[in-house]
Amino acid sequence: MKSKPSSTEKQTPAPAALEHFVLKLYIAGQSPKSLNAIANIKKICEENLQGRYELKVIDLYEQPQLAQGDQIIALPTLIKKIPPPLRRIIGDLSDTERVLVGLDIQQA
């Protein structure tokens, strides 16, 4: 299932495939879920968005005030604001396909 998104399969992802991605990953300290999420998203980005993504990891234990602004309830949460639309993916990101669909990199 870890196939690369191919622009020939569907029409819509084609422009998205070239777009620049800005991602924020909210985690809570060194919990297993947090560590897994970091590892998972790094792998997914490297495999799918190489060279055209920014990933910022925010530990809410250190910056709790940020939770309100980005409406964080569940952890870990991955937020994609650019390119629009806004998407949130919650969980340790172990289901790669869900992540790709969630980020509009791959169609469901």
Partner: protein
């Protein structure tokens, strides 16, 4: 987790501390407030006032009990929330600026969210924790946390996390209110009551006979006794108020003070001094027998004493009452201007009984009157809600009595013959019961007043005729004679007849008096004449007696002279003379 649970259980025997809500009545029902440091579930249907209850708990905590609070809203934005409660007089912006309250709106949009792998609600914990720490909050509201179930995937995770949340709140030592929408079979849609085991309050908003009423019930309060009944509550400009009146029992003080009914003759009938202060008075009668007029008299008298009066009218507008009472010479307008009298006119159907009751409570609380008038009471009785009306009246009377307020209620009876029966339901809470009725006689309709009962005083058992005149109500004795009870023209005729008869009788008496006088004068004259005759005889007699004495003396002198001339021995002569 298990550790913290057992720890909190162990602290139970120390006695449950309570966090006062500051909400009128609710603290009474719960004997002091919500369980401190624990979570309370407030559930109910849409629009039943959950959010307002929770918000008032928070605002009162921040303003009255120095307990800052955090409001985590899952449904309304901060702006909406601020605007909504501004109508209750709560200035959230100010409280937020003073760092007494933190408002946080949790936005969850299901369509934005994807799940990939395991997640938890640590973000919520961190967020809530940060808010609590920021202002040192002692109170927390989560409104409505169930929104999480529709916003986030995987209910199994959510349930586990909620359980953790409630334990965490307990560890934090904050007093929390969670709200929940009423479910079909359970109290809440997601069965929150399973997790919150300390206190559960259910709000209800029901409609009967096209009028709505709100009720509150404490279903559960672990470790403490609480009122278990359904209590009516109201949300108005002052916020939330719950009426726990039935819990007050029968402990009110009874005053010995008497107050005038405003009608001297009626006072005389009521043991000579009028009603007891703080008693409840019912005036019942058929249509047009003058119930309102009696009530207006009473109000007028109270205002004259400088006491405040609230007149609740359920049939007439204030203007109409003023005009109608002016027609019988009772001018209430000045009392309104002076601020002694307040006329509150509402339609009985405008709200449910309980709402009326709470409203009346609030008005009474704010105005602090000594006299409250309800005119008429039975506008509330619709189809078969007499029992409810009785319970409402009982509550009202209880409340008025504890406040030492005299309550006067009027009641429109359907037919004079049934008066005694139809009102039995409410009569038990009434101290003085006046009965007004029509008396049909001589093709006339007249009014009669009698006292059916009046607790604690020797009251008259007489029926008085009740007249509405240009200068108020007048009571007259009815004519009771061989012809029966006479009122109105018949009474007047009878009275005229009596007067005539009396006049004749009076003249008779006068005649006899004159006769007697004449006799006395005659007798006196006779006595004078006899006296005069006697005086004449007396003078004559005295004269004769005088002559005789003089003759005797002359005779004796003659004898002495003769003796002297005959040279008789003086001594024997003298003895002889002495013996004669």
């Amino acid at each position: 987790m298990m550790k913290s649970d057992s720890k909190s259980r162990a602290s139970h025997p120390a006695g449950l501390k309570k966090s006062p809500t500051g909400i009128v009545g609710l603290d009474q029902i719960t004997n002091g407030g919500l369980p401190q440091g624990r979570s309370t579930l407030v559930c109910g249907g849409t629009g039943c006032g959950k959010t307002l209850l929770a918000m008032e708990f928070l605002v009162r905590g921040a303003t009255e009990f120095n307990e800052p609070g955090v409001f985590l809203s899952f449904e309304e934005t901060i702006q909406d929330l601020t605007e909504n409660v501004a109508s209750l007089g709560f200035d959230l912006q100010k409280l937020v600026a003073q760092k007494k309250i933190v408002l946080d709106y949790v936005y969850i949009e299901r369509s934005e969210i994807q799940q990939s792998g395991e997640y938890d609600l640590e973000g919520l914990f961190i967020r809530l924790g940060a808010a609590i720490d920021a202002i040192g909050a002692r109170r927390v509201v989560l409104d409505t946390i169930e929104t999480l179930f529709s916003g986030l995937p995987n209910p199994a995770i959510l349930r586990a996390e909620l359980r953790r949340l409630f334990r965490w709140l307990k560890e934090k030592g904050v007093t929390a209110i969670l709200t929940g929408e009423r479910g079909e079979k359970m109290l809440t849609r997601q069965g929150l009551e399973e997790y919150v085991s300390d206190c559960v309050i259910v709000l209800d908003h029901r409609v009967t006979e096209q009028t709505s009423s709100r009720r509150l019930r404490v279903i559960k309060y672990r470790g403490a006794t609480h009122g278990t009944n359904e209590y009516p509550f109201l949300i108005d400009a002052e916020g939330f108020s719950v009426l726990p009146v039935t819990s007050l029992g029968l402990a009110h003080k009874a005053s010995y003070e008497r107050i005038s009914s405003g009608i001297a003759r009626l006072d005389a009938m009521l043991g000579g001094e009028g009603y007891f202060r703080g008693s409840s008075i019912l005036i019942s009668g058929t249509a047009g027998t003058g119930k309102s007029s009696l009530a207006a008299h009473f109000a007028d008298a109270a205002c004259h004493r400088g006491e405040r009066v609230i007149y609740f009218s359920f049939e007439e507008s204030p203007d109409q009452i003023l005009r109608n009472m002016a027609s019988i010479g009772i001018n209430l307008q000045p009392w309104i201007k002076k601020g002694l009298l307040q006329i509150q006119a509402t339609r009985p159907s405008s709200a449910g009984l309980e709402t009326h009751l709470v409203k009346m409570h609030n008005v009474v609380n704010a105005f602090k009157p000594r006299v409250v008038i309800l005119d008429p009471l039975n506008s509330f009785i619709f189809a078969d809600n007499e029992i409810e009306v009785k319970s409402m009246l009982t509550r009202l009377v209880d409340y008025l009595k504890t406040e030492q307020i005299t309550g006067l209620f009027t009641n429109l009876a359907q037919s004079s013959s049934l008066v005694g029966q139809t009102d039995v339901n409410i009569s038990s809470v009434i101290d003085s019961w006046l009965l007004l009725r029509d008396i049909d006689s001589g093709s006339e309709r007249n009014r009669g007043l009698s006292i059916l009962k009046s607790r604690g005083m020797a009251h008259s058992n007489q029926i008085r005729e009740f007249l509405l005149t240009g200068h108020g109500v007048e009571l007259r004795d009815v004519y009771v004679g061989p012809e029966g009870v006479l009122t109105g023209s018949a009474r007047l005729t009878k009275e005229a007849e009596n007067e005539a008869a009396q006049l004749v009788h009076k003249q008779d008496v006068e005649l006899r008096r004159i006769e007697l006088e004449r006799k006395r004068t005659t007798l006196k004259a006779q006595i004078a004449m006899l006296r005069a005759e006697f005086a004449v005889q007396e003078v004559a007699s005295i004269k004769i007696i005088g002559q005789e004495t003089a003759e005797k003396a002359q005779l004796a002198q003659g004898r002495v002279d003769m003796g002297v001339s005959r040279s008789v021995d003086e001594k024997p002569n003298k003895d002889k003379e002495d013996s004669t």
